[in-house]
């Protein structure tokens, strides 16, 4: 392109490389430690076998299945014929389940947004505050939502309220963990620029960090909505509202035909929510 200057430069690059004779190539030695995955697999196998063994493991026996299979077969036969006439009675609890899921997602997301910023190093440079927030959230996350619901039913009574509170706690634990981790991988540059312009910590987070946090936040909130629809169906088992109360009732009366209708409804709702939320998430660029 430019004027051809006879520079003694990279001549070999322009000439097609001469066929390399099968000379001694300096291949570096293979890294050691390739046995490690095999040892890991063997350890997993041994642990699995031990947990099956009668002395140390869970009391698992195939003969129990063999003895009781007719029982199970009868139940499955019942489950295969849903009692469609039961449908009207399931509508109100189903709606309550959905309401619980939506309310809990909204409240949980609202609480999670500032907590996520406080839990991430990038947006909260104070190690002490960050440590306190993270510790509290670890504790919140350690307790399963069904246990929260059971305790809250004792505290605030039977109904949707304990279920919603349990779900909110469950959601805050998840959203803050996932969003704060996403924040850590964000670019620190915009925050430095906002700090250099004289912003306070809160201003820097709001003006420079938050715009890049929205996708992760919206994404995880939708994910949590999916989880809530699933979780809210069983919270009623401990008296915390929704379909679970009905499940508990029909199960007590061995109405497996009615139970199968409820399961079908849950399936439809969960799949519908999954489809809607994943199509929204795909649009979040």
């Amino acid at each position: 392109m430019t004027t051809a200057t006879p520079t003694p430069g990279p001549t070999s690059a322009s000439v097609p490389a001469a066929p390399v004779e099968h000379s001694v190539l300096n291949v570096p030695p293979r890294p050691r430690g390739r046995w490690k995955p095999w040892v890991a697999a063997a350890v997993v196998l041994v642990i699995t076998i031990i947990t099956f063994s009668p002395q140390w493991g869970v009391a698992f026996s195939f003969d129990a299945i063999a003895r009781n299979w007719q029982n199970g077969a009868g139940k499955i036969a019942q489950l295969l014929v849903p009692d469609w006439s039961f449908f009207p009675r399931t509508l109100a609890p189903l709606l309550e389940t959905l309401q619980m899921a939506v309310i809990a997602t909204a409240v949980g997301a609202l609480i999670s947004l500032p907590l996520s910023l406080w839990a991430a190093r990038l947006t909260n440079p104070h190690p002490l505050v960050r440590g306190i927030v993270r510790t509290i959230l670890n504790v919140i996350r350690a307790v399963p939502e069904l246990l929260y619901a059971a305790i809250l039913v004792a505290m605030v009574g039977v109904g949707a309220l304990p279920g919603i509170i349990a779900l909110v706690l469950f959601n805050v634990g998840i959203i803050v963990k996932l969003v704060s981790e996403a924040i850590e991988s964000n670019d620190a540059g915009p925050l430095e620029a906002a700090r250099a312009a004289g912003g306070t910590g809160a201003q820097v987070n709001r003006a420079a960090a938050l715009p890049d946090v929205w996708p992760a936040f919206a994404n995880q909130s939708l994910y949590v909505l999916e989880l809530n629809v699933r979780a809210s169906t069983v919270l009623g088992l401990v008296g915390a509202g929704g379909l679970g109360l009905l499940i508990d009732a029909v199960r007590t009366f061995y109405r497996y035909d009615q139970l199968s209708l409820i399961i079908l409804e849950i399936l439809v709702v969960v799949v519908a929510i999954d489809v809607v939320s994943s199509s929204i998430r795909k649009r979040l660029v």
Binding site: A197, G199, A202, Q203, D212
Partner: protein, 274 residues
């Protein structure tokens, strides 16, 4: 009254007051990991000067720039910017000082998903109460300043676009507009053109020179390219291993001067070209 001429270069934005001078006495900056970035640097930069800081990477030029607005703390010695001593300025005073100092960066440092306008309004943070920022309520006068700044760098038409959708050169202009919106007394630039192609790099350096000439704002810019330092700045400070090894006029700096600063012979990559 003061309707800005639409194409007047940087004419719409006026500095809030006189531009600031900088004075350093035995300034030393040491990082927590024990690395000494600046060793006993003593410099006086007068108000309205256009200064380039030249040196290899790791020579301390980035630390020098960042110490001036307190992004890097002073370890010992004194540093006066305007009428403030950086060694003792903290909290609210430090933020007010930073509000008077515009800064642009090698990687532009824009919030990619925010609009160009929102990015430029970051320049008003020091003049905005926190609650307003949190609610996203901007003063009309601040927006006016932002629009004027965008107009002065020629990308007002992009103000509603997402910052990440702009090219590198346009993003650096947004960053310049953000700094101008601060109505700065001093402008710092940390390798402002190192991520840009040659024509865009010249355009951005031109913007900086124009800000210096038409607004009289002190400009200090890091560059590692000899021709940019010579062409666009009037004074050049050479740093090597944290010490000032050259301080003089930029235009007449010889290749030998650069070789002394770099501690090696001049290579083709030290010049940007056209």
């Amino acid at each position: 009254m003061s309707i800005p001429a639409p194409s007047a270069a940087a004419g719409a934005i006026t500095p809030a007051a006189a531009s600031w001078a900088i004075s350093m006495r035995d300034l030393t900056v040491r990082y927590g990991n024990g690395v000494t970035a600046l060793k006993n640097v003593s410099l006086d930069i007068a108000a309205g000067e256009m200064v380039s800081v030249v040196g290899l990477s790791g020579s301390g030029k980035s630390s020098l720039i960042r110490t001036i607005n307190g992004l890097v703390p002073v370890t010992s010695g004194s540093l006066t910017v305007g009428d403030r001593d950086l060694a003792t300025t903290r909290g609210r005073d430090l933020r007010a000082l930073r509000g008077g100092i515009g800064m642009i960066f090698q990687s532009f440092n824009l919030a990619g998903r925010a609009s160009v306008l929102d990015n430029v309004l970051v320049g008003r943070l020091a003049h905005t109460p926190t609650w307003r920022t949190l609610l996203g309520l901007h003063h009309a006068s601040d927006k006016q300043l932002a629009f004027e700044a965008l107009e002065s760098v020629g990308i007002l038409g992009k103000c509603w676009d997402r910052a990440s959708s702009l090219s590198g050169g346009q993003q650096q202009r947004v960053a310049i507009a953000r700094a101008l919106t601060q109505q700065p007394h001093l402008m710092l630039a940390d390798e402002p053109v190192a991520s840009l192609d040659p024509p865009t790099a010249h355009a951005v350096m031109n913007d900086l020179r124009r800000i210096n000439r038409t607004l009289g704002i002190t400009v200090i810019t890091n560059v590692h390219l000899m021709d940019l330092a010579r062409t666009y700045t009037t004074r050049m400070i050479g740093l090597r291993a944290g010490e000032v090894v050259y301080d003089g006029p930029a235009a007449s700096a010889t290749d030998a001067d650069f070789e002394a600063i770099y501690g090696r012979s001049i290579a083709p990559e030290d010049v940007l070209g056209e």
